[in-house]
Point group: C2
Chain length 202, copies 2
DNA sequence: ATTGTTAGCAAGTGATTACTTACATAATAT
DNA sequence: ATATTATGTAAGTAATCACTTGCTAACAAT
């Protein structure tokens, strides 16, 4: 009658993926303080104890998600930076990839900022620092190329430009989290890019 | 020998101010998850029960801090918007006031973002939404004046410019929280302003 | 077939949380 | 002086947290 009543036994790789997905889903739709191991287990459809078969601690789950960002988003961004196309096109691809990744993984930014806020965990903190610095480094690489190619100005600090850049995806997340509208900023990347490019123009 | 050993009885207005100050201090220097009523009481130097003499709940303390932002920062910003000086000067004053307020109240931004992250409280959430929208409104007012005066371009959406603007203070806070360096961004306002103004130029 | 390993659950664990209760004393009003 | 109110504390409370324990059954290797 109900073939899905009993939990199916699954290999740890599958369960880990389910757990990480449930973490992001709970954070985005219910908020961080609903992310208890109890709720997490219920969302995956397993018992609380089973979570600890696959992860040694709740913290380990978050660290694993950070690794996914590094091997997912950051790898994609690195590939764009190294493309043999004009700096302007790379900038657009980089920014739009960045934005679409955040929209597809809506809990990620909140999770990262929660760690900024709680900040008592040195390893999580430095993991986040790595991610932000790597992203800034990628934009700076592209901008340096644009300056060398003579299309962009060199009168601003690359660090400040990086700060301004990162503010855009961060603000997008804050606003969709506050409004909880999923659909709105689909064209966010195309809308914001002209503003950012104007700063770079000679 | 030790005249400060026993806690002095204080009027509720004084205690409320001490409690709010301790909240921001704990958040900035120890992180959000150290903000328990136990730690809070210890920081103020009173017993845990006394906190609940002055505030009905922990949540009420946070709501009171939100009110302080409204009657402090937002009032100051409103006064700047209404000044009879060129839009360019008002923009600089508004932005630098915004930045210095955040540097003087270092726990504020983390507290606000924690609420974005936890977001299960409708009243806190809408209080934060009010603050962000008011700030965006103020910049938009100044920019509209600059456009009317013919010094700035009207080719970008005011909403998008507002998003870009707010990203700057937000990123500043993220970076000082991650690096925990207090001194660094004293000139943040003066450094970032030229980048932002370039977008507005005709 | 036997054995070892992996994935599962129910029912705990102690620690911590925000908050309450009962009672005491200081300040104020009458 | 006396009564009232405001501020204080110590010692609770029930609920929740991340995590553990003891046991079972599914699966894989030999």
């Amino acid at each position: 009658m109900n073939p899905e009543k009993k939990t199916q036994r699954q290999p740890t790789a599958v369960r880990k993926a389910q757990i990480k997905e449930a973490v992001l889903s709970i954070i985005f739709s219910q908020g961080l303080d609903q992310l208890s191991t109890r709720n997490l287990a219920k969302a995956v459809g397993i018992s609380e104890g089973t979570i600890f078969r696959h992860y040694a601690s709740k913290r380990d789950i978050l660290l694993d998600i950070l690794e996914d960002v590094k091997s997912g988003l950051l790898k994609d961004m690195a590939a764009i930076v190294q493309k043999e196309i004009p700096a302007q096109e790379r900038l657009e691809q980089l920014f739009c990839k960045h934005i679409s990744y955040l929209l597809e993984n809506k809990g990620i930014t909140i999770l990262l900022f929660a760690e900024v806020a709680h900040l008592n965990d040195a390893e999580l903190k430095s993991g986040l620092n790595d991610i932000l610095n790597t992203q800034i480094q990628y934009i700076q690489n592209i901008i340096e190329d644009g300056i060398s190619a003579g299309i962009w100005t060199d009168k601003f600090s690359l660090d400040d430009i990086g700060t301004l850049y990162l503010g855009m995806p961060v603000m997008m997340n804050i606003r969709i989290t506050l409004s909880q509208e999923e659909a709105a900023p689909l064209n966010f990347c195309k809308r914001m890019l002209p503003l950012f490019e104007k700063i770079l123009k000679k």
